[in-house]
């Protein structure tokens, strides 16, 4: 056991998140993390690894990823070519078995954090195919007849963007955490961690502008934590001070450098329209 997760200097973990991570850690079950894009799902795994002083292995899932690629792949084509060239290596099948991320994690000396990122990107059946392996933390290599078994079970963190529903049988084996969008207070803490020397008044103004933007009805994509952090970085770069932000002049209803917050031209148009309406009301 490598202690408990308490959040790190760079990552604000709410109490529910800490408990979910610790439960997964103690019971050695996978932790499934969901939440709006940009609320720090992937970063969570990195920070857990850092906090517990463990190595992090990342397996990014794409739409073409197959479950067995996480275990191992048998490179038949290379072997075939080698055999026609008369290569010595061809006699041992082991030379053509490429280890996947799960194998690496299972074979690792000591404990390791394994991040399976965006599991919902793959085919619907993908999680089912991995169920047994994640449950027992072992699998069988048909080509060589050996069984790979984890001596220390890795801490598996799985993220999902909810693009596909995950099968019930798979879910039953995991702990689940939904990263809710941070409230005003948590957000202030998060900003403080990322930009320690940002003037607190600027943060206050920026946050209120940010939440106002989020509250605009009908936005296609609401800005999230990561977008806020980018925007603050830009504000600092451009040396925009809090008075500019505080100006609630309807003529300048669109916040400065809004490109970092609104990523969709329809949203920008909507915003401009609202600004226009506000101006007309005033005249």
């Amino acid at each position: 056991m490598s202690g408990k997760f308490e959040g790190t200097q760079n990552y604000i973990a709410t109490e529910d998140l800490r408990i979910a991570v610790n439960a997964a850690l103690t019971l050695e079950r996978p932790l499934l993390v969901k939440g709006e894009p940009g609320t720090g799902k992937t970063v969570l795994a990195e920070e857990v690894a850092k906090a517990l002083d463990l190595e992090l292995l990342t397996w990014h899932i794409k739409s073409t990823t197959k479950a067995h690629q996480g275990l191992y792949e048998y490179d038949a084509i290379t072997r075939l070519r080698d055999s026609q060239l008369g290569d010595e290596r061809v006699k041992d099948i082991k030379n053509y078995i490429n280890r996947g991320k799960l194998w690496e994690a299972f074979a690792y000396q000591g404990r390791v954090v394994l991040l399976i990122d965006e599991i919902d990107k793959a085919d619907i059946e993908f999680p089912n195919d991995l169920r047994q392996e994640l449950d027992r933390m072992e699998f069988f290599v048909y080509e060589t007849g050996e069984t790979i078994k984890a001596e220390t079970r890795p801490l598996v963190i799985i993220t999902s963007n909810n693009e596909k529903e995950l099968p019930d049988a798979f879910l039953r084996r995991c702990f689940f955490h939904y990263i809710a969008f941070p409230d005003h207070e948590t957000m202030t803490e998060i900003v403080k961690v990322h930009f320690p020397d940002l003037k607190s008044r600027l943060v206050k103004e920026a946050l209120s502008v940010f939440y106002e933007v989020r509250d605009v009805p009908g936005l296609k994509k609401k800005p999230s934590t990561s977008e806020l952090l980018d925007w603050l970085k830009l504000l600092m770069n451009e040396d925009i001070d809090e008075t500019t932000l505080r100006e609630r002049d309807p003529n300048k209803l669109i916040p400065p450098l809004h490109g970092a917050l609104l990523k969709n031209e329809q949203d920008v148009q909507l915003f401009e329209k609202l600004a226009f309406l506000a101006r007309r009301e005033r005249n």
């Binding site: 709410t14 109490e15 529910d16 408990i19 979910a20 610790n22 439960a23 997964a24 103690t26 019971l27 079950r29 932790l31 499934l32 969901k34 038949a76 084509i77 075939l80 026609q84 619907i124 909810n162 693009e163 596909k164 529903e165 995950l166 019930d168 879910l171 039953r172 084996r173 995991c174 702990f175 689940f176 955490h177 939904y178 809710a180 409230d183 207070e185 948590t186």
Partner: protein, 391 residues
């Protein structure tokens, strides 16, 4: 331990299983948390709920099951809007007390004062005549409205402490019965996928190649056709009139459906299916296509999806000549029955919430024609409909 809680969750529609229950107990056994109700809430949530759409249901059951437990450990604090408190108190006050209120400077003043005292007062208070708390005689006393105490304005300190987190019901709008978007629809529609290999073999069949190479002793390349979705879908949309409020939802369904099937054809109708349908709303009167042609053109293995609110005058379904737009020779019900006779898999999606269905007679009739295969246009409904279609 917590068996009732577990059963309550189950009966309230949170899909929990024995396995999850046991892992919760295991976690408790291994001291993942200290004996704190809030930590227990977080732990049980992580162990038992696996989908954010069930978080709200969980919160409600948790609140119900563990009500009163909180009161033992710390004062329960509820948030009451000031206006509410004000009007309530006014009802409870005697004439004498009302005069006293006036003497203090009216309600505005008192609320200000209350705020001030709340700030001064840090710990729980009982009795007495100045501090706010339970059972006191202070004008701010909360006894009678809420025996546990009141809270006004913003509480300072750690978030989530003041109001019990599970009573905040933050996840209410994540409930699966409510939200439906293009993405979600796509996921639901994907249930209908049935892959088959047909067409030109233009993809390397690795397994086949290895096999035949091993047999032949030389490199023998095999090709196979790509996997494609074989499902064909025919969509019928009700447009105009009572369907207008649902247009956006239907648009989303439409755009999501397009990408998911091999072929998807759509037709519009108004209120009920009659002898003609059309493909373009702008030219609906000039470019009508006879429904017979549609039924003849598309083979019986097409899946049929009707989208409409099914609310109309029942005559439009059962009587000839009852259409609101034109003279129809045959009743709408006859046409619907014809569709049902040709196509074995057909469903009707209804955007009006299910609880209103019984209010309109026409909905019942259509539901009967469709052998009960009418589903609400929510995620769960769509899911059930797709399951029905893929049978």
């Amino acid at each position: 331990m917590f068996v009732d809680f577990f059963h309550d969750l189950k009966s309230n529609g949170v899909p929990v299983s024995l396995r999850e229950y046991l892992s919760l107990l295991e976690a408790l056994d291994r001291d993942v948390i200290t004996r704190d109700i809030e930590e227990f809430y977080y732990l049980s949530r992580a162990a038992l709920v696996k989908d954010e759409k069930n978080l709200d249901k969980f919160d409600v059951v948790f609140s119900k099951t563990f009500k009163g437990l909180q009161a033992l450990s710390e004062t329960e604090i509820a948030e009451i809007p000031t206006e509410w408190l004000q009007s309530l108190t006014e009802n409870f006050l005697t004439e004498e007390e009302k005069a006293a209120v006036e003497a203090l400077g009216g309600w505005e003043k008192i609320m200000e004062e209350l705020q001030k005292r709340l700030e001064e007062q840090k710990e729980r208070h009982e009795g007495g005549n100045k501090w706010i708390g339970t059972g006191g005689t202070s004008p701010f006393g909360a006894d009678g409205y809420n025996p546990e105490g009141i809270r006004i304005g913003q509480e300072k300190g750690r978030h989530g402490r003041a109001v019990k987190v599970w009573d905040k019901r933050e996840y209410k709008n994540l409930d699966g019965d409510v939200e439906i978007g293009t993405r979600n629809i796509k996921v639901a529609l994907r249930r209908l996928r049935r892959f088959a290999r047909d067409g030109v073999p233009d993809k390397l069949d690795l397994d086949g190649t290895i096999k035949s190479t091993a047999n032949a002793g030389y490199l023998d390349i095999k090709l196979e056709a790509e996997r494609r979705n074989k499902i064909n879908v025919l969509l019928f949309f009700d447009v105009g009139g009572s369907m207008d409020p649902h247009i956006k939802l239907c648009e989303e369904l439409f755009s999501a459906a397009r990408a998911e099937f091999k072929t998807m054809e759509h037709f519009y109708f108004h209120n009920c299916l009659y002898e003609g349908v059309w493909k373009d709303n702008a030219r609906r009167h000039s470019d009508k296509m006879p429904t017979w042609d549609v039924l003849h053109k598309y083979p019986a293995d097409y899946k049929i999806i009707f989208v409409g609110d099914a609310s109309m005058s029942p005559y439009e379904i059962v009587h000839a000549g009852a259409s609101v737009e034109h003279w129809n020779e045959e009743a709408g019900g006859v046409w619907l029955q014809r569709v049902m006779d040709i196509y074995t898999s057909a469903v009707w999606l209804n955007p009006t919430p299910e609880r209103f269905w019984t209010h309109s007679g026409s909905t019942d009739i259509i539901k009967q024609i469709f052998n009960d295969r009418m589903f609400p246009l929510t995620l769960d409904g769509l899911d059930a409909a797709m399951r029905e279609l893929s049978r």
